[in-house]
Symmetry: C2
Subunit: 157 residues, 2 copies
């Protein structure tokens, strides 16, 4: 899954356009970080993005990664994913899609489903809340964790 080649190109173009419009410097670090996220099919942490970018920019610093991932989110060219853990995770996908969230290991997998996409959202204006986006999170236990669980059960018998 992940995003396709066309979408990837469009997103980079949009990024450069937004930089120009906002007068924000389009540095090589910023661009490389965006590409690193776009090239992933999972929901990487800042650390994972750093590892990936180091191949292209040797001396890039941890602080730059954190600062810029946040900038890219604000620009709307990537998003943050919601997860039950204690480490921030980013997502290349900005379109409507949904998540399988493992409550055991905190992993997240994408799931696409037209029925979920066409959900009718409730009115949130009473909360003063402006909805921009939504995700359905199917919470439970992933394949790996279920396997580990059954191993544990066998051992204790």
């Amino acid at each position: 899954m992940g995003i396709g080649a066309r979408e990837r190109r469009d997103r980079l173009e949009r990024f450069e356009e937004l930089c120009r419009e906002a007068g924000v410097p389009c540095t090589i670090q910023r661009r490389a970080l965006l590409e690193a996220v776009l090239d992933r099919e999972d929901h990487p942490t800042a650390h994972q993005v750093l590892e990936a970018v180091r191949a292209r920019i040797r001396g890039i610093s941890r602080a730059t990664v954190h600062r810029n991932l946040e900038t890219l989110v604000e620009m709307g060219v990537i998003t943050k994913t919601c997860h039950p853990g204690g480490v921030i995770r980013y997502d290349a996908r900005i379109d409507i899609h949904h998540h399988l969230v493992c409550l055991r290991c905190n992993s997240i997998a994408d799931i696409d489903d037209e029925n979920l996409d066409s959900l009718e959202l409730p009115d949130t204006s009473a909360f003063g809340f402006k909805v921009s986006d939504f995700r359905v999170q199917l919470r439970g236990v992933c394949r790996e964790c279920r396997r580990k669980d059954s191993k544990k059960r066998n051992r204790s018998k």
Copy 2:
């Protein structure tokens, strides 16, 4: 909102039952932590729960809070919430309900909606994923953050 008095009582009872069944010690710390979460209507961090519990148990330690909140989640008497931030948040509610997630300040508010509750979930057996639960997350910007944004805009004019 939050949970009602009856639900609160039932949950504590269920907790004690689960302790007995599993032969898990039902310590005063454990019980106090559960009560502290049940008494909150928001989605507290471990630190917030610690603060609340200190009133009853002076010398309770940070480690005990973290360890036991995790235990309570495993027992299924509280849950973890999914959020875009870097701090783990707990939730007194274990029934199906939904969230308004602010992507600016990472705050979470509950929202109840029958239409969302009756959502038809896709089949996840192909992923080896066992669904136990679901949440719809309406992502966007909360009232407070929108206010701050408009103030900022005014200043820059």
